[in-house]
């Protein structure tokens, strides 16, 4: 680890990818993530990597498909409308079992929406916006240091399970600055060889990487393999943070930057004598249902806060299973909720 430096979120994630040994980046400009694409255009040249601005997000994701299939650690970043365009390719990558890291700096929607921070793409990112039975590991960082760590982790998870992985960021995460300590870079040459990659059939039989089998019985087998993989990911890759949950009477659930805002609400509530706590899922798939369920046993209210109309709320309800009330507070369209207004919403819920 080096010294702490002040960086923007977009740069923190870009540099983390470089440190993770990523040497191939494809992207297309879209606010509010263009600075990440710009950063990579500079940095890839410096480290002898590949940067290419594609003609569209559709082309971008397919360039990732190609790069990944020949064994490269590959990344792109985009924002909501761009991520919509990538869904087809992501579905192909999922079934072809191709690793790759996608950074989605989510903005207000639907449609053209706006360019302010939002979490309104939770369903698309977490539940799968493309076709077919697939899941994607999704990580939602709440600080830039965590964004750095999760970006590096995302590459490892992508390679380990041969799957696309998403970093769920928002415009706030992209634009804010915070001190960050980067780990030492990984030498891309030191990464283990991928024994499935298309590297030319030298001294071995020809290999195919496809998302396709016309025979339904064979495709079903491929599908089942994927499901086995998702089961393993569910068992092994859950991440979350608990904040002041030991003696809590009320539990908040929030992810990403909102999770961090709610931490201030928790402190404000405690100043008023309300013992609040926070459960912050870091992996959204796999969602930490079990732990949230355990925490729900201790409280009467599990309040979800999102920058959406209530999407993660559905997962919270699946975890709580009616054991506690599950009110919701959300802001839409890129409006960032403040700690104070969240507290007000809680007070209303408590009837105070």
């Amino acid at each position: 680890m080096g010294e702490k430096i002040m960086v923007k979120g977009t740069e923190a994630i870009g540099e983390a990818a470089i440190r993770a040994g990523c040497r191939v980046y494809f992207g297309y400009p879209i606010t509010p993530q263009s600075e990440l694409t710009e950063y990579m255009s500079r940095r890839m040249e410096e480290v002898g990597g590949v940067f290419l601005q594609a003609e569209s997000e559709v082309a971008t994701v397919n360039m990732m498909y190609g790069a990944s299939s020949v064994g490269a650690r590959v990344m792109t970043s985009t924002s909501s409308p761009g991520f919509s365009l990538m869904q087809e390719g992501i579905s192909y990558m999922a079934n072809a079992q191709l690793p790759g890291v996608f950074v989605d700096v989510v903005r207000g929607g639907p449609g053209l929406g706006d360019i302010q921070p939002s979490q309104g793409d939770y369903f698309q990112i977490v539940k799968g916006g493309g076709h077919g039975d697939y899941r994607l590991p999704v990580y939602s960082p709440s600080s830039l240091q965590e964004a750095v760590e999760l970006t590096i982790h995302a590459f490892d998870v992508a390679d380990k399970y041969r799957t696309p992985v998403v970093i769920f960021a928002d415009g706030m995460m992209g634009q804010m600055m915070e001190p960050v300590e980067f780990p030492d870079p990984i030498d891309p040459g030191s990464l283990p060889e991928k024994d499935w990659a298309l590297t030319g059939a030298k001294g071995r039989n020809a290999r195919y990487v496809t998302s396709f089998d016309i025979d339904p019985y064979k495709l079903e087998k491929m599908n089942k393999n994927l499901q086995e993989k998702y089961k393993k990911i569910t068992e092994e890759e859950q991440k979350w943070e608990e904040f002041m949950t030991d003696d809590m009477e009320v539990l908040f659930v929030a992810h990403g930057t909102v999770g961090r805002i709610v931490k201030s609400t928790v402190k404000m509530a405690r100043d008023k004598g309300i013992k609040a706590g926070l459960f912050r899922p870091i992996s959204l798939f796999p969602f930490p249902y079990q732990r949230l369920s355990e925490l729900a046993d201790k409280v009467d209210i599990v309040m979800t806060v999102e920058m959406s109309a209530g999407q993660m709320l559905e997962d919270v309800k699946l975890a709580v299973l009616g054991k506690a009330r599950t009110p919701f507070y959300g802001r839409l369209a890129g409006v960032i909720p403040t700690p104070g207004e969240i507290l007000e919403a809680l007070m209303k819920e408590l009837g105070r």
């Binding site: 702490k4 002040m6 509010p32 706006d114 360019i115 302010q116 415009g171 706030m172 634009q175 804010m176 600055m177 915070e178 001190p179 930057t257 961090r260 805002i261 709610v262 931490k263 201030s264 609400t265 928790v266 402190k267 960032i336 909720p337 403040t338 700690p339 104070g340 207004e341």
Partner: protein, 182 residues
């Protein structure tokens, strides 16, 4: 102690840079810091603002409802942020740009004719550094030494020649605040 600062003005007045310097200086001082800009179309010509938190503890929310310190560069920003300032909070205002009085009586006000001061130093653009000086003197949020170190990090290459005049502008701002604080 947690310093929750909002700096606001027109785009191009150096509001964002002021905030970044406070945050970077805080980091050098060993504090936990965040810098969060308002961004988007409004940055061009409209009002621009950023929120900086400097804290002894890890920063929870980078978003602030009630800042305890505001640095204000123009009238629209005064109208927008003065009402949000915490009781006993500190308002640093650029009186070269703002020809009216703040309405609150429960806050501390530092009046800085920043443009005039910077103009006298020969670099009008350094008015944000005058404001920065007044801010750090009035709040003690970050140390002068660390601000200078942060400035050195920012002002490299072609900009390095402005280092001295910026330093001078910060000192002038500090002097003005000191006089008013008594």
């Amino acid at each position: 102690m947690e310093h929750k600062l909002i700096a606001a003005g027109f785009g191009g007045q150096g509001v964002m840079l002021l905030g970044q310097l406070v945050a970077t200086a805080g980091m050098i001082d060993g504090k936990h810091v965040t810098w969060l800009p308002s961004y988007g179309p409004e940055m061009r010509g409209g009002t621009a603002n950023c929120t900086v938190v400097v804290s002894d503890e890890p920063v929870a929310s980078p978003v602030v409802d009630t800042p305890n310190e505001i640095v204000i560069f123009n009238i629209p920003s005064l109208l927008k942020f003065e009402p949000t300032l915490d009781k006993d909070g500190i308002l640093v205002m650029n009186t070269s740009m703002i020809d009216r009085e703040p309405s609150r009586k429960d806050i501390k006000v530092i009046k800085v004719p920043a443009n005039d001061v910077a103009d006298k130093l020969g670099v009008l653009k350094a008015q944000n550094m005058v404001m920065l000086g007044a801010y750090i003197e009035a709040t003690k949020a970050v140390s002068f030494e660390s601000v200078i170190k942060a400035l050195e990090k920012k002002m490299t290459g072609k900009k390095a020649k402005f280092l001295d005049v910026n330093k001078k502008a910060i000192e002038e701002g500090m002097k003005i605040a000191r006089e008013q604080l008594g």
